[in-house]
């Protein structure tokens, strides 16, 4: 090493907070990281620089405990950490802002803060005040009660940063934090970063932008293909050396040569494209040229790609080789390479071969019948041409590296013989070697006469690959660069210079008038009001036909039946809130009644009865625990696990009793069915439990966790929520509530009958759905469930009072479910818009 100046010595004298030694991470056979060693010191900003797919994010996930390294060691303040988990990382004071913010859409802003931050942050002050202070640090002005799904991407990033800063972390990891921020927010963020670094925090800053590096970092480590290529103090290394380290070869030689002659014949011509996200976009793709789309993230580039692929409608004209295309024609002509490869690019459970062919199957068939020979021959040929590296045609697609997956996507595009190729971020998550192959292929396709449009957030890539670059801002074309002007500087300048870039709206205007009403309408409890109204109206109508309907006896009767269903449905609500389902509640309730029939009889002593109740809850507990463990640790889907449980429990019931026997104690029945006016006391208890559960759901950490894991398990895990524990706990609560329901059921059946109870599975789901809880998880309401159970019972009862046949019982039940589901679905969609 060369002689150092005084500043460097000062830098090196600082304490090392985290030391990585020999970290490797393999995904199946692909190495994401190999033998990475690095030191991160207190009070300095250490940038990790590298291309997409160089392993930066993997490294951060390992430091923050989200991923476990295959090999190597992490030392925190000199002590080795045995196994890093998100919780341990948090307890060590490691805060991380993910590239995809770990924000839970179904929770409010304040709930997002409170579920992710330790209680100590909120100690001693009103949570709202703390929340506002945390947000103010990053200049975020948003109502705390607002649901996070209403935030823009930039706001979510700032919220994520606010969360990390609030921890006053020893180590702060920022993963490409400025990707979707505008200049003002970026400046503000840099100021904050300098502040926390000055206060002694070790900041790890991940980026692929050289310009930012000079502004913020003290030291830089460059990664390429999962290996450390060099570490340096920022003042000691030139830009060209850095680029050399990042790319591994000089830029010029990396890209294929550009189009030789300036052809004038137009391949694709786009005029006046306008829709929600785009304004009057026009450009031209001359034959043999590749056109790039650039801009700051969030300015309409992906939307433009989708319009060009025929996936989104837009006004304006798209002319391909002189023929004007409608949207369906465009959909057929264009081959789209989506940016989110894992979701839209490949189908994870299919093989390499199947992934390569699903859009071009007609090419290998006669009269709709596939020819395996043709398929194999053509796929083999195209794979050779694109140099796809795969263990075999029948290998699962995820056994391939990102680059080879992308080549399979390209193979599919080319097999369908498209008239147009639309590549959205074609090299995202692709290793360097494969990137240049992909550039070569795109160039060859373009030379063969197929117009190619590429969207990329990487200006260097656009400079190297494209003959022409269209720069977008706020959905408008702000500049079209051609020939010599296609340089990184010009592209970035054009994108940033435009005054209206990024989504700078960091404040959400809070509706003042009637906002409480709107809050209620938007809240998860919104269905309660219409449900209550329907319940009352139905009651009044039936009362009009038969006045016995409102007799004390009948009201008591309806509510008593609703109580059993209500408790079981409350349990089901817990399962659905987690995005799961519990099919075993019905048989479990029946089984517990059978258990009770041995202990809670007229001949039993008090001790015996207590034992019976104890055994009921023990049975419920064990059932819930088994369900939870099967789902979380044995990887069963909730349906599969609880279905197996359904069958097993039913068997257990029959094992205990072949035929109905064992009469439930009359005195216990009297106690449980205790009447107060027209109300069963048990129903009042149910109502109290529902209100209590609702409060817990909104105001306790357990409630937030429950909704968080249902909302987005991955984000919840990254936010440091103990996901496994929450799920298993949730299933146990579900079974315990079913146990309470079984106590009600026991007094209604009065005897241990192994055939009873199973109907409660579907009935409980029906009640929950009526109540407005979503089956996709994260959103739900116990109050709604309670009302759903009452309404369902009321409908069944009303049918008898109206003198109708069983036909109507089923008819009303069916209509109720379908209509309610349709209404909730359409309201949900309208809210989303």
């Amino acid at each position: 090493m060369l002689a150092r100046n005084s500043q460097d010595v000062a830098l090196d004298a600082r304490d090392v907070v985290i030391r990585l030694s020999g970290i490797s991470k393999y995904f199946s056979v692909v190495a994401a990281l190999a033998d990475v060693s690095a030191e991160f010191r207190a009070g300095e900003v250490h940038a990790i620089l590298g291309e997409n797919g160089a392993g930066k994010s993997t490294l951060m996930n390992i430091i923050s405990g989200t991923l476990q390294p295959t090999d190597g060691e992490i030392l925190f303040e000199g002590r080795p950490v045995q196994q890093m988990t998100p919780e341990i990382a948090k307890s060590h004071g490691i805060g991380i802002c993910f590239q995809h913010p770990a924000i839970l859409d179904d929770l409010s802003i304040l709930e997002n803060l409170r579920v992710a931050l330790p209680a100590s942050v909120f100690a001693g002050a009103k949570p709202e005040d703390v929340g506002r202070r945390v947000l103010a640090k990053v200049g975020l002005l948003i109502p705390l009660g607002m649901r996070a799904d209403g935030l823009t991407v930039a706001q979510k990033h700032l919220l994520e940063i606010a969360k990390a800063l609030a921890l006053e972390p020893k180590v702060l990891i920022l993963d490409e934090p400025t990707a979707s921020l505008d200049q003002d927010s970026t400046d503000m963020l840099f100021e904050r970063i300098r502040e926390v670094a000055a206060a002694g925090t070790s900041v790890i800053y991940i980026t692929h932008r050289l310009a930012e590096l000079r502004q913020i970092a003290d030291r830089v480590t460059v990664l390429r293909d999962g290996r450390v290529r060099g570490t340096s103090v920022i003042g000691e290394i030139s830009d060209s050396d850095l680029v050399g380290l990042i790319v591994g070869r000089t830029l010029k030689s990396a890209f294929p040569p550009k189009a030789a002659s300036a052809e004038t014949e137009s391949g694709l011509s786009v005029t006046g494209l306008t829709n929600k996200d785009l304004k009057n976009v026009s450009f031209d793709v001359p034959r043999g040229q590749i056109v790039g789309i650039a801009g700051v993230a969030g300015n309409g580039q992906p939307e433009l790609m989708r319009v060009l692929a025929g996936l989104r409608p837009a006004e304006g004209q798209i002319v391909l080789r002189g023929r004007k295309l409608t949207q369906p024609e465009l959909l057929r002509e264009a081959a789209f390479m989506p940016s989110d490869r894992h979701v839209e690019g490949v189908a994870g459970s299919l093989t390499v071969r199947e992934n390569a062919t699903y859009s071009a199957l007609e090419k290998f068939s006669t009269a709709g019948v596939m020819s395996r020979k043709k398929e194999l021959a053509q796929v083999g040929a195209i794979f050779s041409e694109l140099a796809v590296k795969t263990p075999g045609m029948e290998a699962p697609i995820f056994a391939l590296s990102g680059g080879n997956q992308q080549k399979v996507v390209m193979a599919r595009a080319m097999l369908s013989e498209p008239g147009l190729i639309i590549a959205d971020e074609p090299t995202q998550g692709v290793d360097v070697g494969a990137r240049f192959e992909i550039y070569r292929i795109l160039r060859e396709v373009s030379e063969a006469g197929t117009p190619v449009v590429v969207n990329s957030s990487d200006a260097v890539e656009l400079e190297g690959l494209c003959d022409k670059v269209v720069v977008l801002s706020r959905g408008q074309v702000v500049e079209i660069l051609t020939g010599e002007d296609v340089t990184e500087e010009r592209i970035v300048a054009a994108a940033v210079k435009a005054e209206t870039h990024g989504d700078s709206s960091l404040a959400v205007t809070q509706p003042s008038a009637g906002s409480r009403l709107r809050d209620l309408f938007r809240s998860d409890n919104a269905p309660a009001v219409p449900l209550a109204i329907v319940t009352v109206l139905l009651g009044l109508y039936v009362y009009g036909q038969n006045e016995n309907f409102f007799s004390v006896y009948n009201i008591y009767n309806i509510l008593l039946l609703a109580t059993a269903l209500g408790f079981i449905a409350m349990g089901q609500t817990v399962a659905l809130l987690m995005g799961g389902i519990d099919l075993s509640v019905g048989p479990l309730a029946g089984f517990l009644v059978v258990v009770a029939s041995f202990f809670i009889t007229d001949d039993s002593s008090t001790a015996m009865m207590l034992l019976g109740f104890l055994l009921m809850f023990a049975g419920a507990f064990v059932t819930g625990a088994i369900n939870g463990v099967l789902i979380r640790f044995a990887n069963f889907t909730p349906i599969a696990a609880t279905l197996a449980m359904y069958i097993a429990i039913q068997g257990c019931s029959f094992l205990l009793r072949d035929n109905p026997d064992g009469y439930i104690s009359a005195s216990v029945t009297d106690w449980v069915n205790w009447q107060w006016g027209p109300f069963p006391v048990a129903f009042l208890v149910l109502a109290a439990v529902a209100l209590g559960a609702e409060t817990l759901l909104r105001r306790s950490r357990a409630g937030w966790r429950l909704r968080a894991v249902g909302s987005d398990e991955h984000s919840a895990r990254r936010a440091g929520i103990p996901v496994e524990l929450t799920f298993i706990g949730g299933y146990i609560v579900c079974s315990l509530l079913t146990g309470v329901g079984a106590i009600m059921l026991m007094t209604q059946i009065g005897v241990g009958d192994p055939r009873q109870g199973v109907n409660y599975t579907l009935a409980s789901i029906t009640a929950v759905v009526l109540g407005g809880t979503s089956l996709s998880g994260g959103r739900g309401t116990f109050i709604g469930t309670l009302l759903g159970a009452v309404l369902l019972t009321e409908v069944l009862n009303a049918v008898t009072f109206l003198g109708l046949t069983q036909t109507y019982q089923y008819l009303f039940q069916g209509l109720l479910v379908v209509v309610a589901a349709l209404i909730y679905a359409s309201v949900g969609r309208r809210k989303a818009h």
Binding site: V343, S365, G380, E385, R412, G651, D658, G814, L816
Partner: protein
Amino acid sequence: MSAVSTTPTGADRYGAGRMQLTRSFVTVIFSTVVLLVACLVFAPSSVSWGALSGSLPFAAIIAIVGLGQLLVVQQGGFDLSLPGAVSLAVVVSTHYPQQNDGLLYQAVLLALAFNLAIGILNGVLVSLFRLNSIIATIGTNALLYATVFAMSGGVPSVTTGLLANIAGGETFGLPNAVYFALGATALVSFMLKKTVAGRRFEAIGASPAAGEAAGLRVRSYQMMAYVYAQLFYCLAGVLIAGITREPTAFQGDSLLLPSVAVVVLGGTSLLGGRGFPISTVLAAFFLNQLSQFALSVGVPYSAQTIIQALALGFGIGVYSLRWSGKVRKTT
């Protein structure tokens, strides 16, 4: 690697060309053989010709509804309208003709019309209105039972002689229902694995988002899964009406769980995607034979159910262990 090396033998380089046996198929075959050996050793009566021809029709029916459920599961759905659909087909084909052979074919057509209508309704609710399949089919199941009650009043009716001959008879020593099941299996296998539409159906089930991005008509494939499924429920219902002399109005209720169980045991993921029709049908035979075995060695009904649950749990366990390896690698 240097660039263009296009050779006509490209396919060989990628080591393909041979049909690979799927693991689920091997697992199911292996378990079935083990079970049959156990039967021969411990309970020879359960594999006697008489026992088999008595139980095979029921295995055939589980196989047929299993195939219907399979198609829905492949699209990531779940069809809870199966009990109502089968019961309605049973009721229509017994109550409508009232033992008059001449009215039988009209009855079957009527049953088909009902089932198709409800299939379309399911499909529209799930694919067009984006309702959760569980909710939608809970609702339509109730509507189906409303129709069942409207037609039958909930009481059983005696089947027609002709239907009893067709569905309950034997040809070349095998129960006719078995031929229907084999035919259905061959049809589904061929359609799924060998036709453009079937391959696309599987790809869309594996990833609707990827299908959408590739410009495929995702919603219509999803919708058709529910319609096709109803065809199989209808077939099963009509067969039951013939096999049972006086079928009840709730004949379908006992078929829902087995239909899901055989799909799962057949190795198809409940998350959708690739389906294994032959393994599903074998699983139906396996489950049926398991009960027969338990019955002949004198195990009570309760224990039988527990054995089935264990088999199901074990089956899922075998498949999901493999899954977990794959999932961890990709996240």
